[in-house]
C-alpha cells in the first residue's frame, strides 16, 4: 500500500465515521418529523429553520445532563455497555462500498475503506457482537427491567440472526462470493438481486428490523412495559450512545440492504449516460444515498404504523416461520441454479 493510498484510506475512514454519525443525528430529526407528519402534526420546528438544529440541541443537552451511575451497579461494565454498542455500530461501515472509485493519476481509489473477502461474514459477526453491549449494559444496571430488556434483546438477536444468515446464504450461493464489492459489481449489468431473491429479501428486511430493535420488534426497550428496557438506568450521553448507536445500526442496515438486494451504487442505464469516470462515481454515491434514504424512510414508516409484537409471537415468527422459509429459499435457489445453469 502506497503512502497516498494510506492517507486516502485514513481520510475515507474519518469521512465514513462522520457521515454515519451525522446521518444518525439527522435521522433522529427525520424520525421525529416523520412521526409528526404521519400523525398530522408539525414536529420539531423551533431550533433553526424547520427544526434542523434540533439534533445539535439534543446532543448538547445529552452531554450536559447529570450522569448517574447507580450504586448497586457494576461500574465498569455499566460504562463499557454503551461504549461497546457504539463501537460495534461504527465498525460496520468500513466494508460497505459507497461508490465505484476515484481515478487520479493512474491509480484508482476505491470508495470503500477495506474490501475484505469475507465482508458479509464480518458484517454478521460485528452485528451479533453488538448485542453484547446491550447485554452488558442491561446486566450491569442491576435492575429487573434492564435485565429483562437485555434478555429479550439477546434472545431476539440470536433468533433472528439465524434466519438472516440463512437468507444471505441463498444470495451467496448465487454470487459465489462474500465480498460486498464483488456482490455490488455483479449487479452492474442485469437486474438487481431482489428480482432473483424476493423471498430472501423479505426475510432479510424483517430480520433487519429485529436486529436493529426497531418497531414492531422493539421489545428490548418497550417503554410501556419495561420502562425503557436495557437503558432504564442510563442517563446523559451514555443513554445518548445507546440511542445513537441504534440509529447508526439502522443506517448501516439500510446501506447493506441497498447494496445486497438493490444494486448498491449502481442505477439503471448508468453507462449509457456517457458520464466521465469521476463524475459517474459522484452520481453513483448520490444514488446509493438515495436508496439508503428510502430504506430509512421505510424503517420509520413501519415504526409509526405497526404495533409491537408480543414476545411469544416474536419467537414464533422467528423460529417457526422465518427459519423454515429461509431454508426453503436456499433449497429453491439450489434447484433453480441446478436446472437453469448459472443465474445472473
Amino acid at each position: 500500500m502506497t503512502d497516498s493510498m494510506l492517507i486516502y484510506k485514513i481520510i475515507l475512514c474519518v469521512i465514513v465515521f462522520a457521515v454515519s454519525l451525522g446521518a444518525a443525528a439527522y435521522m433522529t430529526w427525520g424520525e421525529r418529523k416523520l412521526a409528526a407528519w404521519l400523525q398530522d402534526r408539525v414536529g420539531p420546528n423551533r431550533a433553526g429553520p424547520l427544526g434542523l438544529l434540533q439534533p445539535i440541541a439534543d446532543g448538547i443537552k445529552m452531554i450536559f445532563k447529570e450522569e448517574m451511575i447507580p450504586t448497586h451497579s457494576n461500574r465498569w461494565l455499566f460504562i463499557l455497555g454503551p461504549c461497546f454498542f457504539m463501537l460495534c455500530a461504527c465498525m460496520t461501515g468500513v466494508v460497505i462500498p459507497w461508490g465505484a472509485g476515484w481515478e487520479s493519476g493512474g491509480t484508482i481509489f476505491p470508495m470503500q475503506v477495506t474490501d475484505i473477502n469475507i465482508g458479509l461474514l464480518y458484517l454478521l459477526g460485528v452485528v451479533s457482537i453488538g448485542v453484547y453491549g446491550v447485554m452488558i449494559g442491561g446486566w450491569a444496571s442491576n435492575n429487573k427491567y434492564s435485565l429483562l430488556g437485555a434478555l429479550r434483546a439477546s434472545s431476539q438477536m440470536i433468533s433472528y440472526e439465524v434466519a438472516m444468515g440463512l437468507a444471505l446464504i441463498a444470495l451467496v450461493m448465487m454470487t459465489g462470493t462474500l465480498s460486498l464489492k464483488e456482490i455490488v459489481a455483479q449487479q452492474d449489468q442485469g437486474l438487481a438481486f431482489v428480482v432473483y431473491q424476493p423471498l430472501g429479501f423479505i426475510i432479510f428486511i424483517i430480520c433487519a428490523f429485529a436486529e436493529t430493535n426497531r418497531a414492531p420488534f422493539d421489545l428490548p426497550e418497550c417503554e410501556s412495559e419495561l420502562v425503557g428496557g436495557y437503558h432504564t438506568e442510563y442517563s446523559s450521553m451514555k443513554l445518548g450512545f445507546f440511542l445513537f448507536a441504534e440509529y447508526i445500526n439502522m443506517f448501516i442496515s439500510s446501506a447493506i440492504m441497498a447494496s445486497l438486494y438493490f444494486g448498491g451504487y449502481n442505477f439503471p442505464f448508468q453507462h449509457e449516460l456517457g458520464l466521465d469516470g469521476n463524475v459517474l462515481t459522484i452520481v453513483q454515491t448520490a444514488v446509493f444515498f438515495g436508496k439508503i434514504f428510502i430504506f430509512i424512510f421505510v424503517f420509520m414508516w413501519v415504526r409509526w404504523t405497526l404495533p409491537r409484537f408480543r414476545y411469544d409471537q416474536l419467537m414464533n415468527l422467528g423460529w417457526k416461520v422465518l427459519l423454515p422459509l429461509a431454508i426453503a429459499n436456499i433449497i429453491i435457489t439450489g434447484f433453480v441454479m441446478l436446472f437453469m445453469g448459472k443465474l445472473g
Partner: protein
C-alpha cells in the same frame, strides 16, 4: 336494548384465513393509511407565530372602560360581583373628592377592583350585569404566570389606558345597548320604574 348508533357490530371470533394469517395485506393496508396522512393538512396552529382567529365577541381578558373624556366609568355598584358565578370579582368603593372629576365619571368609584383570573370562568355575566357600560370582556388572552398572585388582576391591568383604548364596538352593538336599556325588560327596571 336501546341503540345509540347504528354502527354496532356483532363480534365473532373465527379462525383467520391463510391470507389473514400472512399479515402482509393488513400491514400494507395500514401503511397506506399512515402514508396518506403524510400529505394531509396539519392540525397544528403554530401558536406564537400564528394566532388562532378569534371571534369579535370572544370572551377573554376583561377591560374597565373609560368614557370619551377619559374618566373611569365604573361606579363600584357591585352588580358584576353579584352576577359573577365564580365569585372572582372583589372591589372596594370610595367617594370622589373635589378636583377628581376628570378621573372618575360619577361621585363613587372603585378604589380597588380585582378579578381573580384563576377563578374567572369567562362567562361574561359581569359584562351583562354592568349598568354603566364599564366592564367588557375582550378578545385578548390572559397571559400565563408563574405565581398565583400575578393572576389576580388589579386596576393597573384592567383599566384601559387613556391613549390605549380597547375597542369593544363589535360587542357593544346597537342591539346590545338597546337591550340593556330597554325598560320593557325586568332587569332594566329600577325601583322607581317598578313603582309606577
Amino acid at each position: 336494548m336501546m341503540q345509540l348508533t347504528n354502527r354496532s357490530m356483532q363480534v365473532a371470533k373465527k379462525e383467520l384465513t391463510f391470507m389473514e394469517r400472512l399479515y402482509f395485506p393488513a400491514i400494507i393496508k395500514g401503511m397506506i393509511i399512515t402514508l396518506s396522512h403524510l400529505f394531509k393538512r396539519k392540525a397544528t396552529i403554530k401558536y406564537p407565530d400564528q394566532v388562532r382567529e378569534l371571534s369579535a365577541v370572544y370572551r377573554g381578558q376583561h377591560v374597565l372602560k373609560r368614557d370619551e373624556a377619559g374618566a373611569e366609568r365604573c361606579t363600584a355598584c357591585g352588580l358584576c360581583a353579584v352576577a359573577c358565578p365564580a365569585e372572582a370579582i372583589t372591589m372596594e368603593s370610595a367617594e370622589r373628592k373635589k378636583g377628581e372629576e376628570s378621573l372618575y365619571r360619577e361621585e363613587k368609584y372603585a378604589k380597588i377592583y380585582e378579578i381573580n383570573m384563576l377563578r374567572c370562568i369567562f362567562c361574561g355575566l359581569c359584562e351583562e350585569a354592568c349598568p354603566k357600560e364599564a366592564i367588557f370582556l375582550t378578545d385578548r388572552i390572559v397571559p400565563s404566570s408563574f405565581t398565583r398572585g400575578e393572576e389576580v388582576f388589579g386596576k393597573d391591568k384592567l383599566v384601559e389606558g387613556i391613549d390605549l383604548r380597547v375597542d369593544v364596538t363589535k360587542r357593544q352593538t346597537q342591539e346590545v345597548l338597546s337591550f340593556k336599556t330597554d325598560k320593557k325588560h325586568y332587569h332594566n327596571q329600577t325601583f322607581l320604574d317598578k313603582k309606577k
